[in-house]
Subunit: 379 residues, 2 copies
């Protein structure tokens, strides 16, 4: 008998009442009944994201929202600035290339956050830049980029700031309007506590004006103006993943009950506990700017990181993520994201302790859990 | 107390064990556990669709699969031929325009099926046509197009035959390989008995060669070659809607238990019963080539079709679809699609009888149900 615990940075665990909401009989989407559910979802999501911007829900993974942003902002004569500090920053560049959006790219060492001054410098140098594509939490490295500072840099320019908030929304501090984030791209299976299959996108007046000034000829399913026009009428251009939207409403209800500020604080506390626990086990963090939603821990020399993650998953039932691409086998990523509490941190620390011990590494059993508990108790 | 019955042509009703499969705790998608689920779904879906072609599952509505077909087949110098006999045939044209696929369009009167000779003629006239975009069941009018005959016409040419089978797959007779259907686009919320949120696409060697000969520069999320390459490894390029894929497996299990030929026969019988019942009520069909998955019934003069559908839905709890676009208020569409049995036909007929009576129309109560029963009993 193996009992499973999901601690990966997406999909993350889904609360039971949200899971059960998806088992209800299916309804038709072109009905007042569904339109009122969609309306509630729109309104709740805006409140949770601290924005009065327009918002649309797309039936796709988070990458669909990223594509919607790029495909609709791209236009001849416009340039993009992408920030690439990991697998998901890289995706912005790939999307720009796919949609013929001429781009400059700021390469950031994996595990480091972008220096906002570099973005300011690029914008000063090139006034054709119409959109800056950033990542709040780079999931592949567990790195938080300071999108608040990027908002200050981009605000006075003609460019729109587009933020991949896929693995940060609903977890890390995120003040869309106050920080001037023109477009947010969000996936359902992270801080929003849902299964994958939905993407959310918020669009400021500034970003919308850019899209309207040169309507895309390269977007149909992800036509942003069409999606926003439908959303304004609590409708969707195409049949939506309605069971997931019903579940979104259930998850957002839970989020509003907790309160946005409390959600930020909880994730900060949980991530601090993870960082303290791993430090107590003699493990180093991969990132110099660690996110509160996912912690990337360096696998110590002499331990096979891939085997460790695999054994914890298949034998212990504790599912954490390994590294991607160049980080394969070199890090373990532990999520504190969404439906996650203090005992998930205890599980993660206990799993690291027992997993490393079984891998032949000398480890003080209980030391990681103890350090985490000290933080959780307000130490 | 109102008890609801969903009889719309998508979303259609979902069996209880499929609904419940979505309430299981979420798992991670990059695991052997999920890859084996995906492998099973791929294999089962191919068997149900009677194809050995490659298949990929996309996280989107059915329109996403249509976009994948158009965006990846479009190339400079190539022409498309679209068949437009309703709202969904029109969508092929819109997609071609969005992706710069130069097109010829055969306009077909709403409610009529395309004449395959017209397609043959167009292909003879223009050898640059690289893809023919057809609709098997035009949901907006309840019309079945003879895609078997289209397969015979297109087979010997250089063009690929792309079929929107969104509201026919899992219901109407559909023999992908035998009929030479190069690309099938399918949505989850119809004959496949799932909620919306997934699309399936099958691709023949001929169609894949066309895509490979001029790889798309306009597809990223819907990059077909990337999706097929991932699918071949039982993986997906982006995080999939995994609860829906688990549900797909459950639904396909049920379909295989019934058997594909039995599924075809059941839908033929149910649709015949609907047609006999409506005829007995003195109602005319809208289509001259009615589909076995959805029957469009003309609303009799003097009856407000929109009010009828609304009243049946909101007061009786029987949810059927009205007409779209130019057919608004003029037809009622009754689905026999997927999780649907003989008593759904009885409900539909009883609802028409009582709804029309309440609308002030003289109607012989029970006459529609009786005629339907006679068919169902083998008359």
């Amino acid at each position: 008998m193996r009992k499973d615990y999901l601690l990966t940075p997406g999909p993350s665990a889904v609360p039971p009442e949200v899971l059960l909401s998806m088992a209800r009989p299916v309804i038709h989407h072109r009905t007042p009944q569904f339109m009122s559910i969609l309306k509630e979802a729109h309104e709740r999501a805006k409140r949770v994201l601290l924005t009065k911007n327009e918002l649309a829900i797309l039936t796709s993974s988070g990458t669909g929202a990223m594509e919607a942003a790029v495909a609709n902002l791209a236009a001849p004569g416009r340039k993009a600035l992408t920030i690439d500090g990991g697998k998901f920053g890289e995706r912005w560049g790939e999307l720009c290339d796919a949609f013929g959006f001429e781009r400059r790219t700021i390469k950031v060492e994996w595990g480091k956050a972008v220096d906002p001054a570099d973005v300011a410098h690029a914008l000063e140098e090139d006034s054709d830049i119409a959109a800056v594509f950033a990542t709040q939490c780079e999931t592949s490295t567990g790195t938080l980029h300071d999108v608040k500072a990027l908002g200050e840099v981009v605000r006075g320019t003609n460019a729109a700031l587009v933020v991949d908030a896929i693995s940060s929304a609903g977890a890390c501090e995120l003040r869309t309007d106050e920080w001037g984030l023109d477009v947010l791209c969000i996936g359902s299976q992270k801080g929003l506590m849902l299964p994958p299959g939905l993407a959310l996108i918020t669009v400021s007046a500034k970003a919308k004006a850019l899209v309207k000034a040169a309507p895309s000829k390269r977007a149909y399913y992800f036509d942003l103006l069409k999606a926003l026009a439908s959303a304004a009428k609590n409708d969707t251009p195409y049949t939506p993943a309605l069971t997931l939207i019903i579940a979104l409403n259930a998850a957002l209800t839970r989020m509003e009950e907790e309160g946005v500020e409390e959600i930020f604080k909880r994730h900060t506390l949980l991530a601090r506990a993870v960082r303290a626990g791993t430090k107590a086990l003699g493990l180093a963090l991969f990132s110099t700017s660690p996110s509160d939603s996912v912690t990337a821990v360096k696998v110590p020399d002499g331990v096979d990181g891939e085997a460790l993650v695999k054994r914890l998953r298949d034998v212990h039932g504790v599912v954490m993520a390994g590294g991607q691409a160049e980080l394969k086998g070199k890090i373990v990523r532990i999520a504190t994201m969404g439906y996650c509490g203090r005992y998930d941190v205890a599980i993660a620390m206990a799993a690291l302790e027992m997993g490393l011990a079984e891998a032949g590494r000398k480890v003080e059993l209980g030391a990681g859990v103890r350090a985490a508990e000290e933080v959780l108790l307000g130490g």
